[in-house]
Amino acid sequence: METQLARAKTVSKSTSKLSSKTLKNVLTISLFIAPALIVYIVYVLYPIVSTFIYSLYDWDGSSAGTFVGLHNYLNLLGDSIFWTSLTNNTWVVLTSVFVQIPLGLIMALMLFAPIKGIRFFSSVYFFPFLMSTVAIGLLWVFMYDPINGVINKFINLFGFENIAWLSEANTALIAVLIVVVWQFAPFYMILFKAAIVGIPEELYEAANIDGANALRKFFHITLPLLMPTIVSSSILAIVGSLKAFDIFYVMTGGGPNHGTELLGTYMFKQAFINFNMGYASAIAFVMFFIALVVTILILIMDFYRKKKGAY
């Protein structure tokens, strides 16, 4: 009993000693953190706060704005184009998560399949990701051309009529989403490829001894061990698609009739074409807020998944 007490005392002493030591270290640590922290504050936190402040003003960008409180946000809720943009953004998110990532995974798995010349394809698959978005956009605008486009010539071979891909609101969104998938699936392929390399060979050997077939091996070894990569890819995909802008701007500019309008393109129009900086800031802040909430939700879900004992 006595010895236990004594031991407890020494433990508490050593922890208090430790904590005072850490306290001293705090300064050293903060010294090392400082450069990154300052950059983070100046280029991330400060713009977020100032965007929110701008969003409370009716401001055209150069003259002094008038304070309007949450009026911009109220207008936003009644703005049908905003809701169209949000719906379109949701489509981008859904395609990224449920088409891009699975496709990336399939491509990564194919790279490990015993097919001759697969190394060649590993480079070919990766090409789209290396190209500049503007170049990709222009390239596909030509390919989608309603009369002389390669894609229409191709579907003509199968007896289909020409489709004016980028000219109707409903086909335009699909057409651009195809390009988005084409461009970004290779990125997830590389992530998954790296993760698959990291899975220990022993697990597969053990599964072989147990007589597992390829499908079981995939669902019981590969997929669970890839889960962390899938989670982080999802976050990247979701946040990336919420702030999507460039390819849509280049290919359709949000048209026709707002059929491919995104929060990003709508914000750009309000800010730099209509000079409604306050309103544009409100859109920007809503984008930030949605991305924040979604990311937090994913992290919470991941936390509980890990708690349940998953890898």
């Binding site: 001293k24 050293t28 903060s30 150069s62 009369i147 004016a164 980028l166 609101a169 409604n276």
Partner: protein, 434 residues
């Protein structure tokens, strides 16, 4: 140990302070550096001059600048070309950042007016020689009877057509809308696309709405609607213009998928060059495109002025046009007197003559007759014009201008009835134009 820590913390504080001070001072330094360059650096006064045109036009500006520098040996002009797409944003940011160029490019109209209203543009009425400029062109940069910009160039929109195709099917350039429809039907029967339209960019389609509205109700309609003098953008004339457009769309007058085809990339022009399409309503800069992209096509090229409509108040002497470049001086300029002198050189008779002869464009300067026979025909159209309608999207304030282009595109796409589009425009006009 304690000493080390305190020294370290002191260092951190100093570092932070240094960063802060440095950041602050460096920005103010660059600002003063910029304005310093505007006043006097190395004993020479510096004027900053922003424009957007590459190639031959840039050379002509450069020559004008050289002439200016010869007359003013103590001044150095810094020319900066900013690509068209980025220009509007860049100038808007420079203006609001309080660091604008001394002389800058614009297209006159609502966009320039936006900056005038913010008190960013110098009033140059006193220095303007009204006799020197085409009045219709100068009007586009005159607000409340004050001149804020001098137009070097102007353009008009006409309907270009392929002579060879027209001859082949025995067609004559139409004078009226009815004749135009007959031509469209004939071409469709012969598997030629009647009109090439590249409406992803939205402004090519807007030509039709503006021209129809002007043919139906005369140019007074827009002036009245814009200046809120009784009539509105929901006027019967606008609804009818939209109906004409939709009638053309339903007659397959345009290439399929026109709302998704951008102009600059050139697919639309390709349809004309290859003879797949017979006509295109475009600004006269199209001639330049032809000369650069398909010089052999020029001999087949001809044009007619937008046809009239039955019972319409407008006629073919009322044409659609635009100005640009329009040169202005920013109010914050340190050497505004010199900047105005530069403006005069940039719109001098010599510059204008060079401009029209070497780029096949028209100028905003009076009595500059183009040498080129094709351009001369455009010049004659302008000489006979009783009214030049500047594009709505450059005249109206940006927000409503954008709506005008969006609704017009929707009319073309049959996504919106002309009535709905007109009501939307009027609702926005009530909100924005007071």
């Amino acid at each position: 140990m304690k000493k080390v820590v305190s020294i370290l913390s002191l260092c951190v504080v100093l570092l932070l302070a240094a960063c802060g001070v440095n950041g602050g001072s460096s920005s103010s330094e660059s600002a003063s550096g910029q304005s310093g360059s505007g006043s006097e650096s190395e004993g020479k006064k510096v004027l900053e001059f922003w424009h957007i045109d590459p190639g031959e036009k840039e050379k002509i500006y450069k020559e004008a600048v050289d002439r200016f520098e010869k007359k003013h040996p103590d001044v150095e002009v810094k020319m900066l070309r900013i690509p068209n797409d980025a220009y509007k944003q860049k100038l808007a940011v420079a203006m609001s950042g309080g660091n604008p160029p001394d002389v800058f490019h614009s297209w006159g109209g609502g966009w320039l007016k936006h900056f005038v209203e913010q008190d960013k543009v110098l009033d140059i009425t006193q220095n303007t020689d009204f006799e020197h400029f085409n009045k219709l062109a100068l009007n586009n940069s005159t607000f409340n009877d004050k001149v804020y910009g001098l137009p070097l160039s102007m353009t008009i929109d006409v309907v270009f057509y392929n002579k060879e195709i027209f001859e082949k099917y025995g067609l004559q350039p139409p004078k009226t809308y009815e004749e135009w429809l007959t031509i469209i039907d004939t071409l469709n029967e012969n598997d030629v696309i009647p009109i090439a339209l590249t409406n992803a960019t939205k402004w090519p389609g807007a030509y039709y709405l503006m021209n129809f509205a002007s043919r139906i109700e005369g140019p007074e309609l827009f002036d009245s609607a814009y200046n809120r003098k009784g009539r509105g953008f929901d006027d019967e004339g606008y609804v009818k213009a939209g109906e004409y457009i939709q009638e053309m769309v339903e007659r397959d007058a345009f290439n399929p998928g026109f709302n998704g085809v951008p102009y600059d990339e050139g697919q639309g022009r390709q349809l004309i060059y290859t003879g797949q399409a017979a006509m295109m309503d475009m600004s006269i800069s199209f001639l330049n495109n032809v000369r650069q992209e398909a010089p052999e096509f020029e001999e087949k090229l001809d044009f007619f002025v937008f046809p009239t409509v039955e019972g319409g108040k407008g006629d073919q002497t009322q044409i659609g046009g635009a100005t640009g470049p329009v040169w202005s001086v920013s109010k914050d300029s340190k050497n505004s007197d010199l900047a105005v002198e530069l403006l005069k050189e940039l719109t001098s008779t010599e510059t204008a003559q060079n401009y029209t002869d070497r780029t096949g464009s028209l100028t905003g300067v009076k009595d500059i007759v183009p040498e080129d026979p094709f351009t001369k025909r455009f010049y004659d159209v302008v000489q006979n014009a009783t009214h030049i309608q500047m594009p709505y999207d450059q005249t109206l304030p940006p927000e409503i201008a954008e709506l005008h282009k969006d609704t017009t595109q929707a009319i073309f796409g049959l996504d919106m009835t002309p009535q709905e589009a007109a009501e939307k425009m009027e609702a926005k006009a009530k909100e924005v134009l007071k």
